[in-house]
């Protein structure tokens, strides 16, 4: 008798764990092989749990050595490379052609390697020592904003996700991502990659569900510092902007073609950074005649 394949239950990813949605809800997704996946229709409560996990992970992640963050991002790339075949198959089931699937996975891996390299370099490019007129040493450095909520690109199953998660966490932020509603399966398999890449639990949280339902909750949470929408819905963006004002969230619309090699760079990292300026007096020794 033919062996029966073991199918995967797609869960969500919160605080390093893989629960199903607390709501018990799902939405069916028909794959190309005619199997149906019951995708978690995540709730506001799932999102709130994810924010708690992300906030909890923030101080540890942002305090990691930049070099260490670089190694961990590189590790994600390694793990993704190792599971390439699985992603190719999954993308095929979502309707990608073999060529498109190959490009999607390879670009995702390369993008992770690209941002891995930025982890300990953008600080040097975007910091400054400021020549103030008074006797003070004064410098400005970028610091991560905190917890970032992301509504990922609807049109991309993997690359759109990687292209926003990578710059957010490269810069020391933690994030909650709502995956593409129509192409959610890869996001959960990517969560498995993250879970095996030494990324501390809570740094990346991925939920699946409805953007229509969740965009207002993503933007109104008082313990989230920034919100990114990678989609163009005008009325969603208005609501997001209005809700963001509740706690002065930073709002970004990153509606990009992520397969374009130009859509990567340190400015995606610095968008999610705050600039901190530190002052300290310099002692003036008033003894005349001292030369050096």
């Amino acid at each position: 008798m033919e062996r029966i394949e073991v199918l995967k239950t797609y869960k969500i990813f919160i605080g390093g764990q893989f629960p199903r949605t607390e709501s018990g809800r799902y939405y069916p997704l028909k794959l190309k092989n005619n199997m149906t996946v019951n995708v978690s229709l995540s709730s506001r409560k799932d999102y709130r749990n994810a924010v708690i996990a992300a906030r909890g992970a923030f101080s540890g992640w942002s305090a990691r050595a930049a070099f260490n963050r670089g190694q961990i991002l590189y590790r994600i790339a390694e793990m993704l490379e190792g599971r390439k075949e699985q992603f190719l198959e999954e993308l095929k089931q979502l309707g990608y052609t073999p060529t498109a699937a190959k490009k999607e996975v390879e670009q995702s891996i390369d993008r992770l390697v690209y941002y891995a390299g930025w982890c300990d370099k953008y600080q040097q490019l975007f910091s400054s020592v400021n020549p103030v007129a008074t006797s003070h040493f004064n410098f400005s450095v970028p610091e991560p904003m905190g917890v970032v909520a992301i509504l990922a690109d609807e049109s991309s199953a993997l690359l759109g996700l990687v292209s926003v998660i990578a710059p957010a966490i490269a810069g020391g932020n933690t994030c909650i991502v709502l995956a593409s509603e129509s192409k959610p399966t890869c996001s959960i398999t990517f969560a498995e990659v993250i879970a095996t890449s030494d990324v501390p639990g809570g740094v990346v949280n991925i939920v699946t569900g409805s953007r229509k339902e969740l965009h207002s909750h993503f933007s109104s949470h008082m313990d989230v510092n920034a919100i990114i929408n990678c989609n163009t819905e005008k009325d969603f963006n208005k609501t997001i902007g209005e809700n963001a004002s509740l706690n002065v969230k930073r709002v970004f619309t990153w509606n990009r073609n992520w397969s374009d090699e130009k859509e990567q760079g340190p400015y995606y990292i610095t968008d999610l950074q705050e600039i901190k300026t530190t002052w300290h007096p310099i002692e003036n020794i008033g003894v005349s005649g001292i030369k050096y």
């Binding site: 007129a133 904003m145 002065v248 760079g265 002052w279 300290h280 007096p281």
Partner: protein
Amino acid sequence: MAKKEAKKLEYFTDWKYAPSPEATDHIRLQKQYDLFINGKFVKPNSGKYFDTINPATEEKISSIAEANDKDVDSAVKAARGAYDKTWSKMPAKERAKYIYRIARLIQERARELSVIETLDGGKSIRESRDIDVPLAANHFFYYAGWADKLEYAFPNRQPKSLGVAGQVIPWNFPLLMAAWKIAPALATGNTVVLKPAETTSLTALKLAEIIQESGLPDGVVNIITGHGPVGASMVNHKDINKIAFTGSTGVGKWIQKAIAGTDKKLTLELGGKAANIIFEDAPINQAVEGIINGIFFNQGHVCCAGSRLFVQESVAEEVIKKLKDRLETLIVGDPLDKNTDIGAINSKMQLNKINEYLKIGVNDGAEMYQSSCSIPKKGFFVRPTLFLNTSQSHRISQEEIFGPVLAIQTFRTIEEVIEKANNIPYGLSAGVWTDKGSRIFNLTSKLRAGVVWANTYNKFDPTSPFGGYKESGFGREGGLHGLMPYLKF
């Protein structure tokens, strides 16, 4: 070990300061000011004017035009016209020269501007003269030099100007805030519509005269006066590309909401409730000066004021004793007197707000301590005030008072004070006092605030980026980072 009695600082002396008022006979003020639109002073459509008064005497200084939607529209049209026809086409090095001219003209008229700033806003002449006006001139001078060097500021990018910037500024540093807004906007090739606060329009209008004198092309900078609705009308105007606002967090949130879903770029520099943290190994006498400067500078009308003091328990008694002694020596009164430390509260409204908070503090159970100094009978004045035995949950420890009122808490461990300092929606600034270098860097990297002063406080410089985390706003003003909010790539 026997407990040592904290020594009293001996400030007492029989010598009293003689009055030393700054002369006002050299300033040029008109009885009435119109709106500065398209290079000319024009009458407001409303035909209405309102009084601007000296908060130290409550006497009228001049009448200021009240703009309406139509005036806002003509100002924006003038700015758009100037952007399209001249400013965006001018070579950057020529743009720079105009901004340099403005800097020089401010320097030449510094004394007059200082006196007017003090008359109109109530701040001490020492501060207008030594801080506000020189920094305003320096800000123009600094940004002038950036105009033709922008391609060096952002690696691998070609920066472009945005268009018309609408700028709304507060009353605490009237001329300086105008400089913070206008200088980087012009350097990056944008044109400007600026609205000063209704209680402090005069130095902005004097700046309009200077701009006229500088020969800056008509419409590049427009200055319109009036109350809140004028700002709201700017925010909602369809042909403005950028809003830059400095003011309260409440209004900042309203602006962010109002422009949601539009393409307008936004910079917000909002309120604060900064922690000023004193460790037991700090140079205590310097720290006491730092606390005083942190909260009483500019009558406490400072968004980055060190309004929450955290003192390590082991030195709390000594610090508070010295603080009380020092408080007694502060001279409160005539802002025009060169010996005055604390001038007048900017407006009746602000005075009422501060007094309201004093009541709230007492009712919440905090212990109020005020200087015994006398304050003038006329005008808006408040005695410098300390609140002892406050806790995190007290409203005076959570809300921005914007006055000379300090809420004091104590702490034992570093972890505790970091937690307390950060446990607030604001994140504009912070202060740390300790002799230990490694502790400074531990603290300065963990405090979630845009500006951190270590062993100093309330220092500003055109080259130094300023701006907040969290609900204190976003975007930076000053330095290289201050160019970013006025550019697109």
